[in-house]
């Protein structure tokens, strides 16, 4: 599994004051009812048991086991002023990749 950060996302994260109890996490957000759908978000919250922690240029990202199970093989995190952090599958050439075991 490969997680990439675009320059915009990396710069935004580097400029933030990140605390242990509100650290960045790629998180599966589940919506249900008659069926279940999952989308991925970048959220800031406290550590969970058995989190996987990945690091790039001093930025740590957490992923819980549930999210890791469903995350795409290739996942990109981008940032725009209008939409905030975006977690998806598309790629930009300037993205930095982190491989997760």
């Amino acid at each position: 599994m490969v997680v990439t950060l675009t320059d915009a996302a990396l710069n935004k994260l580097k400029g933030m004051d990140i605390l242990e109890e509100r650290s960045p996490r790629i998180d599966a957000d589940v919506a249900g009812g008659c069926g279940v759908s999952i989308r991925f978000l970048l959220v800031f919250d406290e550590p969970r048991r058995n989190d996987t922690v990945i690091e790039h240029e001093g930025i740590q990202l957490r992923i819980d086991r549930f999210t890791k199970r469903y995350l795409d093989e290739e996942t990109q995190i981008d940032y725009t002023n209008e939409q905030g952090f975006l977690v998806g599958e598309s790629f930009e050439s300037s993205a930095c990749a982190i491989e997760i075991e």
Binding site: A28, V30, A31, G32, G33, C34, G35, V36, S37, I38, E46, R48, R49, N50, D51, D64, R65, F66, Y70
Partner: protein, 494 residues
Amino acid sequence: MVESNELIFEVSQPGRVGSSLPVSDVDKVDIHEKFPEHLIRDTPAELPEVSELQLVRHYTALSNKNHGIDNGFYPLGSCTMKYNPKINEDVARFEGFSRIHPYQPGETVQGALQLLYELQEELAEITGMDAVTLQPSAGAQGEWTGLMMVRAYHEQKGETRTKVLVPDSAHGTNPATATVAGYKAVTIPSNKDGLVDLEELKKHVDSDTAALMLTNPNTLGLFEKEIVEIANVVHEAGGLLYYDGANANAILGKTTPGKMGFDIVHLNLHKTFTTPHGGGGPGAGPVGVKEKLIPYLPIPRIEKANGTYVLNSNYPLSIGRVKGYYGNFGILVRAYTYIRTMGPDGLRQVSESAVLHANYLRKKLEPYFEAPYSQICKHEFVLSGSRQKKLGVRTLDMAKRLLDFGYHPPTIYFPLNVEECMMIEPTETESKETMDAFADVMAQISKEVEENPDMVLSAPHTTVIGRLDEVQAARQPVLRYKKEESAEKELVKA
């Protein structure tokens, strides 16, 4: 018994048949002479070829793998998975109901028409409405029928209204129905108590408001205590109040949407009124209306005139027919049977027991799961798996683990405004012993989350097929069996 997980296509043997037909005494026709070449298949369809016994065993085995209310607890919130009494089935099979045809002259099916008429009257009394149509074939179609009447009502008054208001805890069908009916669906947020935020509602209600769609009790199982004021706000702006009565199990015989100020109601007979549920139907979603909306009801309407039951289509303002014939008749017979066997006191007891059971189970489970709303609930309640989420286990994992104990999981991740939501509805037909056993299993799963999370994360363990990848299934659905692909998989396995 040897259990096979093969598909019917994989059981197939070339040339094997399950039936024998007599020699045809009709001249053969050359298909190429009768149809254009581009419509004729190049290769025969790959249909399964099996014996009758293989066919029966295959589908019986599949049915045994299914979970239904007849073989286990099914606390699927908002779906009211209560027991369907077998007397309903007996009555629906009476020849006078099962061997008639909708094209028969009315005078030859007076008993059937009497049943439909009386069911209309009974549902009108139960909901506090003035008239009812039985035509819609399910709840969502009932909603659509209701909103088409809303549209016709406003248009008749010379008004064009553009929006329908829907609380954020509403059934997903409500905003969908509003959109399909040509309205803009506008979401009204809930307040901290899980109820409609009256001040937010007032901000959105105006002369463009066609209707407010509301469920009461709402999907959190909470009664909208300000319903009279909510109704006043909408009515003063000229809008109508729509009651989503999919879940009427807490109000039977206690109150009515009519008393609360609603103008239109739909009921899901396959929930509250014990007709078979799920599997794609057939269902029934009758719609009741107050007097001012009667002219717009679907036609034909079933009426009683001079002691005779008749079909009347003479309603020029009607939105027209919304379903073939008069609705799903067999389902209507079952609901009528239920209402008549229960009687007024029995129906009142249904809602009292449903509310008591939900509150009993809620209190049994609250020590183990977060309860975002701790007030007394109606027929269902919500819990949150947020405590377990911090331990790396999600509500979806716990729902899968429940399968190992033979329970259908609750509704999960709905309503959307509750984190890691579990929506639980035990219904009035379950025993204390069943609810106690379910609570014990939920407590055990909660303990496993703390002490042995892998057991939950890798569930289910006892089902025929283990953990499914819902995300991949949604993104890359494989909906068609292809023989070649199946053969390739066999080669890979070898």
